[in-house]
């Protein structure tokens, strides 16, 4: 005699739950891939509110550092500041000369800058992006260049909503930017490696050395970094240079956005 297996209501319920969840996920994925602005509109305002609260928490945590480590850091910073002061004097003179020379030929490098607070930065972001507290309401638009303190160009605006904007750093993995190495006028293609790092391939016969400055071709001075390592092989006709942005992108608090779009 054969008996039909009685259907288990718990199993049925579980299957229905899985089917509903799978359908919901499918709908979410369709929205995510075909309407990318939908979830951005929900999560970014909520995220920016949370990040603004975080700044207060960081100030509290910062006050808990030990006195010894602070005094040691203070002494180091004083010594470095002294050296930087001397360098800054020379740089100021060179910049003034540069500006006066450009004005002679009716070219200027003055932009329409706006100060912005960095709400999120790497390593929170796996994409090497920053979120800023300025957006389309403040005149920020896609393509505007973004500068770290000291006028170091770090990326450009990739997305601008009403109150916030996203910066795609030049060092974002896979991003290719034109660059000029050292005193030569040879243009190379630097590729972002993430975390503020770049690599670039150039012919082995071009002489470069550690410490050579890497610039982005532009009227305004755009320093991408200084060469930190050179990898070359006698059997290869190319050499690879590695360099890093001169600012620590993990500690950026403020940046400026050039709204002129130059």
């Amino acid at each position: 005699m054969t008996y039909l297996k009685r259907s288990n209501p718990r199993e049925k319920k579980s299957k229905a739950y899985i089917a509903c969840a799978a359908l919901a996920i499918l709908i979410l994925l369709v929205i995510h891939f075909f309407l990318p602005g939908f979830f951005r509109g929900i999560f970014v305002p909520a995220g920016s509110a949370a990040w603004q609260t975080e700044e207060g928490t960081e100030t509290f945590l910062g006050s808990l550092r030990t006195k010894y480590s602070l005094s040691k850091e203070n002494a180091d910073l004083k010594a470095r500041l002294e050296q930087k002061g001397i360098d800054a004097l020379l740089l100021q003179a060179a910049l003034a000369e540069n500006e006066s020379l450009k004005s002679l030929v009716h070219r200027t490098n003055v932009g329409d800058d706006i100060l912005a607070t960095v709400l999120s930065r790497p390593p929170q972001s796996p994409y090497d992006t920053l979120t800023l507290d300025v957006g389309a309401d403040e005149g920020v638009s896609v393509g505007d260049k973004v500068y770290a303190p000291g006028g170091i160009v770090i990326g450009d605006i990739a997305e601008a909503s009403s109150g916030t904007s996203k910066v795609l750093l030049y060092s974002s993995p896979g991003r290719i930017v034109p660059a000029i190495v050292g005193s030569s006028t040879t243009q190379i293609q630097a590729m972002g490696k993430g975390g503020g790092d770049f690599s670039a391939k150039l012919p082995a016969e071009i002489h470069v050395s550690k410490g050579d400055v890497v610039l982005m071709p532009s009227m305004r001075i755009h320093t991408l970094g200084a060469i930190e390592a050179i990898e070359s092989d006698s059997t290869d006709s190319f050499q690879t240079v590695l360099f890093t942005l001169p600012v620590n992108i993990h500690e950026l608090c403020f940046v400026t956005v050039d709204r002129s779009g130059k």
Partner: protein, 83 residues
Amino acid sequence: MNRTITDIVLILSILFLPWWVSAALLLVACFYFHHFFEAFVFGIMADALYAAPHAFHNFPHLGVIFAAVSFLLSALIRERLAL
């Protein structure tokens, strides 16, 4: 209750902690909880918050892909081990 706390911890980690911490937590949660469907929502959330057009070799969907891989991997291993 545990699941709700995990969800809250994951949201906070996506907002404030390095991305690899969130990724590790998500992976652990996928293996610890049965049918951790929330993984997809967290992946979408991370992409919405941090991805930008043309980011990561023109593929700004790392969060969703990681969530999907974690979810499927955990489901597969759980099934094999009959957990």
